[in-house]
Each structure stands twice: as structure tokens, then as C-alpha cells.
Symmetry: C2
Subunit: 173 residues, 2 copies
């Protein structure tokens, strides 16, 4: 019985995902602003882990890179370019020293995730985003999308990794 409940939940999650992608496509065809640019993709916090990183300097964050099913499958299979519908999410949190952990480890060595900073996404749609390598770039601050003008430089920074379909992050097994 419980198994059936899980299956139903899985089916609902799947239908939700299709609906969200459907809206994005409608945007591509009809010039309507797609869900991708106005709302966080549903369930992205449940996506699978691609890798982790730390950015020092001004960003001073610690981050996780997650992928939807299409993106994670492409990573694991080594598929390049990424297929349409692939979405890569970068979640970041303030980088903070953990006194609690340091005590356990016996030295000032432990850094953990503090408050969230922002969430960024790359969505592959080779038609809609043809001028930027097929990738759309979006950032959400406190759940709200930032102005497109602030993201106009995203693609240029990704050009050096054109050979990996403009994606910096490598999959960590």
C-alpha cells in the first residue's frame, strides 16, 4: 500500500516536471516569458548532486551543483552537448567557520554552509538560447529572478569551456 503511495507521488512529481518544461517551450515558440525566467524550477532542491566547490574572495561561499534527471544522465553517460531540457543548478551559501566542528576536530579547520546567498541555473534549449551556446542563464535572489541585464555577462565567462558545452563543473563520483 505504501509502495503505491510512493508510485503515485513519483508520478505527480513527474507530471509537475513535464508541465514546467512545457511552459518553457511555450515561451520559446510564442515569445511568452517562460517559467524558467520567472520561477524556480519545482523540486530543484531534490535534484541529484553533481559536485561541490568553494569560492573565496568577494563571493566567499560554499556551493553545491545539482542537476535535473536529464543533466545528471548526460554527465554520467558523458553526453556532449547536453540535451535540451538539461538544467544545472548552483546553490550557494555563505562560507562560515564552525566552532562546534573545530572543537570536535581539535583545530580551526572546519568550514560549513551558512545562510543561502542565491541560486543560479543553466537551462539547455538549443533553439531558444542559440546565441548563448544553447544555454539560458538565470539567477534567483530570495526566490525572485534578477534582471536579465545582470546576467548578460554569464555566457562570455563560459566560452573558455566550450569543449565541455560551456559547463565548468565536472561530475564528482
Amino acid at each position: 500500500m505504501r509502495r503505491i503511495v510512493y508510485i503515485v507521488i513519483a508520478a505527480i512529481a513527474l507530471v509537475g516536471g513535464i508541465a514546467w518544461r512545457g511552459s518553457a517551450s511555450a515561451g520559446a515558440d510564442g515569445g511568452v516569458v517562460s517559467d524558467f525566467e520567472t520561477a524556480l524550477p519545482p523540486g530543484y532542491r531534490d535534484w541529484r548532486l553533481i559536485s561541490v566547490a568553494h569560492e573565496a574572495g568577494k563571493l566567499n561561499d560554499i556551493r553545491a551543483i545539482l542537476g535535473n534527471d536529464i543533466a545528471v544522465k548526460a554527465y554520467r553517460d558523458g553526453t556532449l552537448p547536453f540535451p535540451d531540457g538539461a538544467i544545472i543548478a548552483r546553490l550557494a551559501w555563505n562560507y562560515v567557520s564552525s566552532e562546534e566542528n573545530n572543537k570536535a576536530f581539535g583545530g580551526p579547520q572546519s568550514f560549513v554552509a551558512g545562510t543561502p546567498t542565491n541560486v543560479q541555473f543553466m537551462l539547455k534549449d538549443s533553439q531558444k538560447y542559440a546565441s548563448t551556446g544553447g544555454w539560458g542563464f538565470v539567477q534567483f535572489d530570495d526566490g525572485k529572478p534578477v534582471e536579465a541585464a545582470r546576467l548578460s555577462g554569464c555566457f562570455a565567462c563560459h566560452v573558455p569551456v566550450k569543449a565541455r558545452d560551456f559547463v565548468y563543473t565536472k561530475y564528482s563520483p
Copy 2:
């Protein structure tokens, strides 16, 4: 049609998870060495993200903490103690500077995950592991479990966070 395939995959994954937990329980009842102590839990690399961290010093790693469905639900609901069956995984990779990223950011600020180091798990089974707060501790190096003697100190280090059911990592939204 495709939807049905997904549902079937979800069902298979679920049954796999139940089988693994079943073995662990058999171990608890019959004194048989449980799967938990001899094999990596199936599908753990697909579990959801709890948080991320960096350990400097001798460990010099960057890490992701993942949880199975029971653990993630308990974290999100604030359930303490964690229910039996909760498993928390700590994956770690060597902490390496990324020249490629540094060029893009314009400074030596980027650190990423290199080769994997080891994987650790905490499994909640309040009966079997009653003497260690209900938690079993296991570590796998290259997919093989390390000797229990090497993990005998795990629990003592977790006692300071008894109020959070001996778990250091907090959930990162």
C-alpha cells in the same frame, strides 16, 4: 508510456531500498553481519543533499552530506531523534585549486572537488546500535568497508551534539 516506465523504475528503486534495509534488520535480529557494514547502500549517490562543508588541515577535503528519504524528511520536518532507518552519507573529495575557474573569476579563489577520498555513513537503528546513541558508523575506502576498530572513536566525537541526536551537519535550505 514514458511516464509508466518512470513509475516502474521508481518502484524498482523502492523495492531495492526495502531489501537493503531488510538485510540490515536481519543482522540486528540474528547477529548476522548486516549489509550496512559490508556494502555501500545501493543508490546512495542519488540521495538528496543535506549540506556541504570544507575540512582544511590534514583532511584537506571538500564534502557533501546526503541523506536517504527517511533522513531528509526528518531534517526538513525537524524530527528528533532521527527515526530508525535514517541514513546520512558523507562523501568527500580532495580539495583542489581550479586554475580553469580562477581564470574565469580573475583571481585565485576557486576550489573544487578532486578525486574521492572516502565515504562515511551514519545509520539509525536504535536497538542494534543502542550503545552509540542508536547510530552505526561505517566508512568505505574504495568501496570497501574499513575495519570496525578504526571507527571505534566516531561516537565519542559526536557526543557534544547529543541535543541534535549526535548529528553535526545542519540542513542547508
